[in-house]
């Protein structure tokens, strides 16, 4: 196959993927970032990466491949966001009512669980995302990741134990800070 033909095939493959799965990948990025304003940029970055990727050309299941790249991309964003985050000064509303406060706490709790998920190994992170955020069965995850369901269950149990440790650490440091 010459370069022109290969490019034409890839163009077709990637446009089909976008038409068929673009909305689903967009939703996934939304759930993993919880920030509506960044999802558009991440979706563009995702397809740019797929376009540049040679591994994508060889992927047996292009959607599964794109799905995993999307997870990695969202957690990369999360890591960079954490590195860049600085305490805000003077940007909070002068008065915070109880409902605003509750929303802030709830949002922070969700961000914490995702930040903790970021610290899991790549495979554990994918399993946790597919199981709890995408609410897929172990059989579905097994097909996508090509691993045995029993192994994935064990991996997931270990991941939850690790998340408990990580989140308990957060809780402890918050208590210390508040004290």
């Amino acid at each position: 196959m010459n370069i022109e033909d290969a490019l034409t095939n890839k163009k077709k493959q990637i446009l089909e993927l976008f038409e068929k799965s673009g909305p689903q990948l967009h939703r996934l990025l939304g759930k993993l970032t919880l920030r509506e304003e960044v999802v558009g940029d991440l979706l563009q970055e995702l397809f740019l990466r797929l376009w540049k990727s040679k591994a994508f050309d060889k992927a047996k299941d292009p959607f599964a491949y794109a799905y995993r790249v999307a997870i990695n991309l969202a957690f990369e964003w999360r890591k960079n966001r954490k590195n860049l985050s600085r305490p805000l000064e003077g940007d909070y509303p002068a008065q915070i009512n109880s409902s605003t406060l509750e929303n802030m706490i709830a949002d922070e709790q969700l961000q914490q669980v995702l930040d903790a998920t970021m610290q899991l190994s790549d495979l554990s992170r994918e399993v946790v995302v597919m199981r709890y955020i995408e609410q897929q069965s172990y059989e579905e995850i097994s097909k996508r990741l090509r691993k045995k369901p029993q192994y994935l269950r064990a991996l997931n149990a270990k991941a939850i134990a690790r998340l408990r440790e990580l989140l308990a650490g957060n809780e402890k440091s918050e208590i210390n800070t508040n004290v």
Binding site: E36, G40, L43, F47, R164
Partner: protein, 401 residues
């Protein structure tokens, strides 16, 4: 007692799974992505390439090339190109040479590649990373400071990459002049001292030694007593050690060695850019990322024996398939920039940063065992990185024993 139990974690994930983007925003995002995808696939928009994606095209050369680029950057752009600092007569050739050739090895080790550096005049450098047996050239980088460009060639793959160098920290007007500046600075430093080491035989040649120290470097130089030309220098600069040998000064070199033309038989070059400031501007976070990739992707969940170049190259050679697989799964075309930046970060720590690596045998994820620590500039408090890659502030008296 902690409220974070399994049920609470699942409750939070359940809430995350309910997150929804408004239909208007979703429609706008999808439309924008479709537009950019159409432009991209029809060639209206060129995708940007960075140095890694250009160099790392081949799995076979990926690691060698990565090592080469990091070493070249460390050698050339950290302004540590000092093939030999001897004193009085010994420094004379360096101070007056128009051209220079020498071999450099970062640290001593059996498998550490030799890099041959050639300086032509003041603005052009060619570096060749040699194979273990020294018989073949694995990677060539030709740098032209006049045009801020670097041509990288991988001869056995016939791959060429032309890189525009951005953000040169201080564009050296003259590489040899830089060496001379280092000598002059050392000589002018009140803490500078030279101690004669007497004579010994090196590679079958009689040599006279000097040991010099400055605020951040130690230098041992062995020179020919008859000609005063340096034979071998051993330099420690921050956390880096270089051994330079096979010096030649003021010899004629073919202009073609420094040409930016793509040699015959090579592929059409990829064109990209490399920000030197980004490469050299590593942070603690890059170091953490370097350690994570090393433990998780190159080794099997443990931290390396030490962070020497030899151990790194040995580890990479032993585990190259694993890392190649990981890179593919992560859609990475080679080690990410953070890896190089993390490597450069700790290498540039100074003596007063009191860098210590104790990660040998520590398991990735072990929150109790320290892997390394250092003291940031101007701080009395140390930063300790643990096996789970958490970083804590620790007073000197509380450092791990």
């Amino acid at each position: 007692m902690s409220k974070i139990n399994e049920k609470e974690i699942k409750r939070r994930f359940e809430a995350v799974s309910q997150f929804e983007i408004s239909p208007e925003v979703a429609a706008r995002d999808l439309e924008r992505t479709k537009e950019s995808l159409t432009k991209l696939t029809s060639g209206q928009q060129k995708s940007g390439h960075n140095i890694w994606s250009i160099i790392m095209k081949s799995k076979i050369t990926k690691f060698t090339a990565a090592a080469a680029i990091i070493i070249i950057v460390s050698l050339v752009f950290s302004q540590v190109v000092s093939p030999g600092l001897a004193w009085a007569d010994v420094v004379e050739p360096i101070l007056t040479a128009r051209t220079a050739i020498f071999n450099v090895v970062m640290e001593n080790g059996q498998n550490v590649p030799v890099t041959r550096i050639m300086n032509m005049g003041t603005q052009r450098i060619r570096s060749e990373v040699l194979s273990e047996d020294g018989k073949t050239i694995q990677t060539i980088a030709i740098i032209d400071f006049d045009t801020s460009r670097m041509l990288t060639l991988i001869p056995n793959q016939k791959i060429a990459a032309l890189v525009n160098l951005k953000d040169l920290p201080e564009k050296p007007e003259n590489i040899l002049e830089e060496m001379r500046n280092i000598i002059t600075d050392l000589q002018n430093d009140p803490d500078f001292s030279v101690e004669p080491l007497g004579e010994k035989e090196i590679d079958g040649r009689a040599a006279k030694g000097f040991y010099a120290t400055g605020p951040d470097e130690e230098l041992t130089i062995w020179a020919d007593p008859q000609t005063a030309l340096p034979i071998r220098t051993e330099q420690k600069w921050h956390q880096m050690q270089f051994t330079c040998t096979d010096f030649q000064f003021d010899i004629e070199m073919d202009e073609s060695l420094f040409s930016m033309e793509i040699p015959e038989g090579y592929s059409e070059p990829s064109i990209g850019e490399m920000s030197i400031a980004a490469m050299l501007g590593g942070t603690e976070q890059d170091l953490v990322e370097f350690l994570r990739i090393y433990a998780e992707s190159i080794l099997d969940g443990t931290f390396p024996e030490d962070l020497s170049t030899q151990v790194w190259i040995d580890d990479v050679n032993k585990n190259r398939n694993k890392f190649a697989q990981h890179s593919e799964e992560q859609n990475m075309e080679g080690p990410p920039l953070e890896f190089a930046r993390g490597w450069v970060f700790f290498r540039l720590l100074k003596a007063e940063n009191d860098w210590n690596y104790v990660g040998n045998g520590v398991k990735f994820g072990d929150a109790e065992s320290p892997v390394c620590w250092y003291r940031p500039d101007g701080s009395q408090i140390y930063r300790v990185i643990y096996g789970d890659l958490s970083v804590k502030d620790v007073a000197r008296e509380d450092l791990p024993k």
